[in-house]
């Protein structure tokens, strides 16, 4: 069951990831990204991160991506032109590089990590809101506060940038 769910949602994630890259229209890319995020949320659940899965949906899919979609719609961004500047050689080199990157990193991951019992859904459920909250407000209190300041600055920055005068 765990493996089945993993394969289904990993497949969706990869499919949507590819779609994100190859789709010409930004809205399609955005929807693909939402698909990736949703399937990742399921995988998080599988890995025992129920809070982070909910946060993934609320923050990423529900807020950040809505913002993206909103901006795409606002700017009424059209599909991207097909002609890519530069030589086709670069394109093939890039694909080759990507393949090499993935192959190498897969090899390294497979070869070097010690063999462990795999993931079974429900075996470890440490990622509850309780646990995360406890850790967040004790060990990670300072980063948390700093992050809140960061958010504040981001809000101010966004407001200043989006003003009419600039």
């Amino acid at each position: 069951m765990t493996a089945l769910i993993f394969f289904i949602f990993a497949g969706i994630a990869v499919f949507c990831g590819v779609s994100l890259v190859v789709q010409k229209h930004p809205i399609a890319s955005a929807l693909s990204l939402i698909g990736v995020m949703g399937s990742l949320a399921v995988l998080y659940l599988q890995l025992g991160g129920e809070f982070i899965a909910a946060a993934q949906m609320i923050v990423y899919a529900g807020a950040i991506m809505v913002l993206f979609v909103f901006v795409i719609m606002l700017l009424n961004a059209g599909a991207e032109g097909t002609s890519l500047e530069g030589s086709p050689f670069a394109k093939y080199l890039g694909i080759f590089l990507l393949a090499a990157f993935l192959g190498l990193i897969s090899f390294i991951i497979q070869a070097m990590l010690p063999a462990r019992p795999g993931v079974v859904f429900g075996e470890w459920r440490g990622g509850t809101a309780l646990e995360i909250g406890r850790k967040l407000f004790t060990a990670y209190l300072l980063p948390f506060e700093v992050t809140s300041v960061l958010i504040l600055i981001a809000i101010l920055g966004a407001i200043v940038l989006a003003r009419k005068e600039i």
Binding site: A90, G94, L97, A100, F101, L104, F107, I108, A111, M112
Partner: protein, 614 residues
Amino acid sequence: MYSLWLIPIFPFLGFLVNGLFGRRFSKPLVNLFAVGSVALAFLWVVKTLLGLGALETKYVEHYFTWIQSGNLNISIDFAVDRLTAVMLMVVTGVGLLIHIYSIGYMAHEGGYYRFFAYLNLFMFFMLVLVLAQNFLLLFVGWEGVGLCSYLLIGFYFLEQYATNAGNKAFIVNRIGDFGFSLAIFLIVRQFGSLDFTKVFTAAGTMPVEAGVGILTTISLLLLVGATGKSAQIPLYVWLPDAMAGPTPVSALIHAATMVTAGVYMIARSAALFTHAPIAMDTVAVIGLATAFFAATIGLAQTDIKKVFAYSTVSQLGYMFLGAGVGAFSAGIFHLMTHAFFKALLFLGAGAVIHGLHGEQDLQQMGGLWKHMKITAITLLCASFAISGFPFTSGFFSKDAILVGAYARAPWMYWVGVLTAGMTAFYVFRAWFLAFTGEYRGHAHPHESPLVMTGPLMLLALLSLGGGFINIPHWLEPMFAEAPENPTLAWISAGVGILGIALAYLFYVARPKLADSFAKSMGGLYTLIYNKYFVDEIYNATVVEPMVNGSRVVLWRGVDAGLIDGIVNGVGKESRGLGRVLRLLQSGNIRSYAAWIVLGSVAVLLFIGLMGGAR
């Protein structure tokens, strides 16, 4: 806790407020912050000292660690002992009076808020200097007051001579500070600490044979620093020029407080100096020489502030003499009384200048007695005090030094007495020239307002009665007891009175006599009138070779040739290299990203080939 940190912080806040917002303030508001902050500091000093009582032992407050490096631990500590108590009272008390006086003196000057901001900043640094419990913090204060001195000498920065004088003071002080910092390095190296208590305890327990060499070196280097700050031979030349600043500055910084920092520092380091007899002798000789030398120059000056400036140098020489012969308490005693009467002299001179709309030349004065009686009387008090007239403050302190000198070597005493006579002569010469006879100038003299004369009168009282504050007795637990010898005291007092009488003879009874005397002494007079040509000699021997050497060797050769050559060569080669590398810099973000990917693939390949990151 007595919150010692509040003492310097008050003036600092005054500085911040006036410095940042003073431009928009009205003058009364500036006064409020400037004078109020110093008054608060003074009151806090009084409260603290009353609370601390007899101060049998040092009272230390530790705030925080400033520098922690290896074994060296330098913290921000303030401390109060009896010596500091005296200094605190002098600095804040006299400082407060001078601040009040400045309200009147600076009333018509531009840059009003700037002046008071600097003055407050000076108070802050001076108090840090006095309160410091280690050499580095003292050095902070030391440099800080130097900075304020520079700023205030150059206060009229539109005038070329003022900026030049400021530069001169700053540069000459650099030489002294260089010595001081070397001394600090040596202390760190030798004792591994800069804390006064630790250093002095360690110095006291050092074996004599092992310690005398290093202690002498440290003491001599400290002395270099002190000669710079306290205007002793050979670094005294900046002080007379420093009179370019406003007169209250001359009174506060260049007479009462900052220039005595060298004396304070030597007294503070007494534990080091007493273990280095050679250094002590050097201090005494330098002090005596300076006292005598400056007094002779003072005899012939015509600018009223210059007269008092040389007098300051001379009196500082006395203090050095006191310290050098081991009579530290006498030196500090003289420091205090000198702060009173010399501040009074300068402030009085300032009142005269103020009343004459900026005239400083004694030749253009005379007969001012009629116009400014309070100034004249208070200045007279100060003159008596500095001349060592019996039972004035100067009598007690100067004689304590001279008696101490006699105990060391009688010839020092006699030179000191001679200097005392000259001191009395030139001070009264200035007084007689200014206040008696006929008015020779063109301005319309008038008496100063109460805000100026008030501090004058207070200081006059202190100058007359300050000698009865028995500082040597108060300082007894810290320094060796000063010897007493009434006979010697009366001799020097007598010489002082003789000097006054001579001045009366020359400038009141027989005015012609002075000129004919000057003519008959032609060469000598020219020599001292031109201050022994010291500035010129320094110019010819130090400044000129330095400037020329810098220009020819350092600038043309080293800088333009070598350094610029290297820099330009690097630039040229970089440009050549850049011309090649520019091909990579396509300005296309995606190509950059591709390079990053290429790089990470290379790194991964490397990791894979090396068998992992374990």
